[in-house]
Symmetry: C2
Subunit: 137 residues, 2 copies
DNA sequence: TCTTGAGCTTCCAGTTGCTGGAAGCCTTAT
DNA sequence: ATAAGGCTTCCAGCAACTGGAAGCTCAAGA
């Protein structure tokens, strides 16, 4: 199999596959003409990587997971630890984004969005934002 | 004001401030010794940028927003358009992350996480994943 | 057989938004 | 005088690709 074929089957661009080889995630052999030759095991790994990447695992996590996948003596606890760590980072990221989302939605709603310059969004950005009213106390 | 002072006031690292100058977001003047000198207007812009960045706006969006902020003849609709676009990208990102989160949580829950090699997480990654049961029909 | 087009190769550069570090000047305090 | 700390520039690197150029190879059609 040439790179175009595995690319189509694995759902990854050829460029990405070459990159994965470059960083040592896969090791396709070469035919006499210099073309990469992908075996079933390579295709399998690429599919694994593609799936892991869609779940948001970093390349380094992918490397670890692939190694565990190929290790018959792995403990599932090792895999679970990687996944749990990743999951908690995703949760954190979602929380951050939700905070942004909420603030932005409030601001967007408050902005009338016409041809006048007055704008609550810019007012917020210009700050001082959440500060005590100097007239208080 | 030197860079360290504005950095402390604006809550941005000096490196970041230099970078913002490099890409033309701010233009502090220079004193005779070559040090950057920040005026109140520079500090103000940096605070604006810091706030916009915490809301997740890209640097290019920040550039646009800053220009609108400084334009007395802006239409709030322009600002709102930028914010709405950004908001929808955030929503999209959240949706993606939630999909990942859900899948990962399911897998993590299914994995007993002991010293045995059997692991639903790796099974999922190895695919074929969601495919029809060949025994069906 | 020749040609054309597609597919493959490598290498280099760019993306986003900083961040770290090195080498060296400036300032301030002791 | 000297040492510490702040400032300067420049270069490199992070993640994970992606685009493009230059050039080789292969398969099919006239």
């Amino acid at each position: 199999m040439n790179i175009g074929d595995v690319a189509a089957l694995a759902g990854l661009p050829p460029k990405t596959i070459r990159y994965y080889e470059e960083i040592g995630l896969i090791r396709p052999v070469r035919s006499a003409n210099g073309y990469r030759v992908f075996r079933d095991s390579d295709l399998h790994k690429l599919a694994f990587l593609g799936r892991a990447r869609t779940l948001g695992f970093s390349i380094e996590d992918c490397r670890t997971l692939l190694a565990l996948y190929e290790d018959d003596h792995r403990a599932s606890a090792q895999v679970k630890a990687v996944a749990e760590e990743h999951l908690s980072q995703i949760e954190e990221k979602i929380a951050q984004l939700r905070t942004m989302e909420e603030t932005l939605r409030t601001l967007v709603t408050a902005c009338h969005g016409d041809d006048r310059p007055d704008c609550p969004i810019l007012n917020d950005l210009a700050g001082p934002g959440p500060c005590e009213d100097p007239s208080t106390a």
